[in-house]
């Protein structure tokens, strides 16, 4: 221990363990900041309710009851959570590799198309085999949609933020076209496809709710992506490429291959989100079925610090807000648009915090092995 050891003094400062240091580390942590943004959003949300002339405590009680109060409430919350969680996982795996995939919405539309095609066109005699076929087909369609922007970037240097964002609209209009044209059953005036075969339907897990087997798929994908990121060689390379592409290049890592692979996974998972929404909730391809699930997913991914576990927690919050505001609307006649405020506010707070940290030269997210 020579006197010249700047690193040592750093350690002394942080290992000192005084109360003030501990507080500083807690208040500086990502989880704390996210929790604070949610807490402040809840408080503001209750103020808004109060300004509408509703007793805030009563409203809070109704919301919590509507989200978690019964088996059915929990079922609805999880059903709302499922596609959003998948979309969030899709967004985070690409962003962790440094590719800003804002196209989950479009990839999800293609995933829904991919799921509906075998589920309506293949012979229904295939029975329950149709379900895995439809999910895989949805994932492949989503992956294909995700591959286009990554190839455009690698070959032509096209900015992925713009391309993925614009391709969302192509996906949305493709669905519109299909349900008014080729996929519209003869003699129907509704903008929707035929009903899918019974064998392709994701079974309902809790009777009386919309909770379907897709939730299990979403949780399995979350665990799988966590294991991929933190326990696989591919995952560590993907994170290196995302955090410091120049370092990755200098160490001879195959940057292009990593980005293509992460986008195939991302698009595939987003495609699954669309597939489970069709196979578990709608049973048809319907124009406007998604109501911006893909963008919710992006918000969830960022609020969850781009961590799979974080995405699960935040997705449950989004699900709870959705089912809770439905209860508010039905019992206290408060507009369900409140959900938009309650999910939008934490994003605004967190964006401010991250922006501040970014200006101070801190990383946008921190992670450990």
């Amino acid at each position: 221990m020579t006197p010249i050891s700047p690193g040592q003094s750093d350690n002394a400062a942080s290992a000192g363990g005084s109360m003030a240091d501990l507080m500083k580390r807690i208040t500086g942590s990502n989880a704390f900041l996210v929790l604070m943004s949610f807490a402040v959003s809840m408080i503001i949300g209750l103020f808004i309710l109060a300004s509408l002339g509703v007793e805030p405590v009563e409203a809070l009680r109704v919301m919590i009851k509507g989200a978690f109060g019964s088996r059915m409430a929990i079922g609805d919350t999880l059903a709302f959570m499922t596609p959003r969680l998948l979309a969030a996982l899709a967004a985070l795996i690409a962003i962790r590799c440094g590719f800003y995939n804002l196209g989950a919405e479009g990839q999800l539309q293609l995933g829904a198309i991919g799921a509906v095609l075998p589920a309506t066109l293949l012979p229904p005699e295939l029975g329950v085999l149709l379900m895995p076929i439809s999910i895989v087909s949805g994932a492949l369609f989503g992956a294909f949609w995700g591959l286009i922007p990554v190839l455009l970037k690698l070959w032509r240097g096209a900015n992925e933020i713009i391309v993925t964002l614009m391709m969302n609209f192509i996906g949305i209009y493709l669905v519109k076209y299909l349900v008014q044209g080729p996929l519209q059953p003869h003699g129907s005036d509704f903008n929707m496809s035929a009903k899918i075969a019974d064998g392709a339907i994701l079974p309902v897990l809790v009777n009386g709710t919309r909770l379907h087997a897709g939730v299990l798929l979403a949780l399995v994908v979350a665990v799988a992506l966590w294991a991929l990121l933190y326990h696989s060689t591919f995952g560590i390379r993907l994170r290196v490429a995302g955090l410091s592409p120049k370092t990755a290049r200098l160490q001879g890592m195959p940057l292009s291959r990593l980005i293509v692979s992460s986008m195939l996974i991302s698009g595939g998972v987003a495609g699954m989100a669309g597939a489970v929404e069709v196979l578990g909730v709608q049973y048809r391809l319907i124009d406007g079925f998604s109501s911006s699930l893909g963008f919710d997913g992006l918000a969830i991914a960022l609020l969850g610090s781009l961590e799979p576990l974080g995405a699960v927690i935040v997705a449950i919050y989004f699900g709870a807000i959705s089912s809770g505001t439905v209860a508010l609307q039905s019992t206290l006649s408060i507009p369900a648009a409140l959900a938009l405020i309650m999910t939008g506010l934490p994003i605004i707070f967190l964006a401010c915090i991250h922006g501040y940290r970014f200006l101070k030269g801190r990383p946008l997210w921190s992670s450990t092995l």
Partner: protein, 502 residues
């Protein structure tokens, strides 16, 4: 009049974390007409001292006297109003604005009146001896000119005391000379100049007065004329480091050739001359230094040897290659924050970045965390990286410790060659010394070491052979016995000897 103190710091103490003072009871005097250097290792508290003078931090105890009168700076605006200017290490300029716009932005309302027309700005700049094109976009200017704009910002606000934080790290040797000529002029006009640095050579050559700070305490403050290099090093480091001891072996060039560049060329770009028929051979067991002013093809040379680019003509022969054709070499890049390290992944991953996909660190695509931690800890101890554990991130470490990680990884590469680019940039005396020692050890252990650097001192200290890179050509064959002036001459295009095989 010149001997009367202009600004004084009286017993200034500051701590950001209770119980860990950054500055303790520091008293200093700055006089007009004087270049006052503040020396110290990284983290000694030099920058905090400047920040207190400039109003960015408030001292816990003690204060600032301006011509004997107590002043309190609660923000930089107060300091500027009291005629204090500061040139930060990282410039505070708007890169997308022109020089004129940046100056008008920074000027006080009264000063702005003089800056209405570009011609006025041009004239003012010239009068100060700092000519710039007012219409140039700042982001397109080289760093030395951006620094000039920063100095003009201070002068335009009539600063009488100008603070410089590590001003020469970004400058090449000839720019450093020019920079100190400007400082001399500023001081001779009756202003006080304070320069924070850890480059001793500059201080000995240009400053009148030097103060040494170590771990927040003032160790000495005295005229430079009475002191020598050894005194300063001892005071800065707290022990004596023999900077003149050469790090050389009894070198005989008989090792096997590991890399040979033959007549390689790379097209020039806006900021670099590219390479022009450059040749270079590297043998096992030797340290070869590539000296040169930045922008003369160093970047291209490094990228060629790292396998990041192919020469447009000529050949790169390497003893060992990856299956994908790129030469195998341990690499220490110039920019350790962006090319050398993943600042937010643990030290263990950074140490083993080049091997993370290999057995035993990874099996069947799965990471073997235990093996990674074990090997990383072994490397951390062997290379003396001062971190609490290998699970902390490099972002929390000092520059010297960060560089030790990059170097440890490069030396751990299964390659006969190590290529280092600006290995000690931004490091303090003790940390630089450790890096250079380790490179010498690697050569003694049989590796071929190539040092590309614009710091002639370090090249002279460790190199067995020296190659000078000028305008993309390898000019002259010199040894460490060659007088500095001749090498300096070659670096600036003086000795037109044409391309020589080195």
């Amino acid at each position: 009049m010149l001997n009367r103190p202009y600004v004084e710091l009286t017993g200034v103490s500051k701590s950001f974390v209770a119980g860990h003072p950054v500055l303790e009871e520091v008293s200093l005097t700055f006089r007009r007409g004087e270049i006052h250097a503040i020396l110290g290792e990284n983290g000694a508290g030099k920058s905090t001292l400047l920040n207190i003078l400039f109003g960015m931090h408030q001292p816990d105890t003690g204060g600032i006297l301006l011509e004997g009168r107590q002043v309190i700076h609660t923000s930089p605006a107060d300091a500027i109003a009291n005629r204090i200017g500061m040139v930060h290490q990282h410039f505070k300029l708007v890169p997308s604005f022109t020089v004129a716009e940046n100056l008008r932005l920074a000027a006080s309302p009264s000063a702005r009146k003089r800056l209405v027309r570009n011609a006025d700005i041009e004239k003012i700049a010239k009068d100060y001896g700092l000519p710039v094109d007012p219409k140039a976009i700042v982001g397109n200017l080289p760093l030395s000119l951006q620094q000039r704009v920063e100095i003009l910002k201070a002068l335009i606000n009539r600063a009488e005391l100008i603070l410089f934080d590590e001003p020469t790290t970004i400058l090449n040797p000839s720019e450093i000379e020019a920079f100190y000529r400007v400082l001399r002029q500023i001081a001779d006009d009756g202003r006080a100049v304070v320069v924070v640095t850890h480059h001793l050579g500059e201080v000995l050559a240009h400053a009148e007065h030097a103060s040494v700070i170590r771990r927040g305490k003032l160790i000495s403050s005295a005229p430079v004329a009475d002191r020598n290099r050894g005194d300063f090093v001892r005071e800065m480091v707290g022990k004596s480091v023999d900077l003149d001891m050469p790090l050389k072996s009894d070198y005989v060039a008989n090792g096997a050739t590991v890399i040979a560049l033959k007549g390689v060329s790379v097209a020039p770009t806006q900021s670099s001359s590219g390479l022009n028929n450059a040749s270079l051979t590297l043998h096992a067991g030797e340290v070869v230094g590539v000296a040169g002013v930045e922008g003369n093809g160093q970047r291209e040379l490094f990228e060629l040897l790292a396998g990041l680019r192919q020469p447009e003509s000529g050949t790169v022969e390497a003893q060992s290659r990856h299956p994908n054709g790129r030469a195998i070499a341990g690499l220490v890049p110039e920019d350790r924050h962006h090319e050398g390290l993943v600042l937010d992944l643990p030290v263990s991953v950074n140490l083993l970045l080049n091997r993370i996909g290999q057995e035993p660190y990874s099996r069947h695509g799965r990471l073997v965390h235990g093996e990674i931690a074990r090997k990383a800890e072994e490397m951390r101890v062997a290379c003396d990286v001062r971190a609490r554990s290998v699970s902390v991130t490099p972002r929390t470490l000092s520059g010297g410790n960060q560089q030790k990680i990059v170097l440890a990884r490069a030396l751990n590469e299964d390659a006969p060659t190590v290529i280092v680019y600006q290995p000690t940039r931004g490091l303090d005396v003790a940390a630089s010394e450790e890096v250079l020692k380790r490179l010498r050890q690697a050569a003694n252990g049989g590796k071929a070491v190539l040092i590309i650097s614009s710091n002639l001192d370090e090249i002279l200290r460790v190199s067995d052979r020296i190659v000078v890179l000028y305008a993309g050509q390898t000019v002259g064959k010199v040894t460490s016995d060659t007088p500095r002036e001749i090498i300096g001459d070659l670096m600036t295009g003086g000795g037109k000897q044409g391309s020589v095989n080195a």
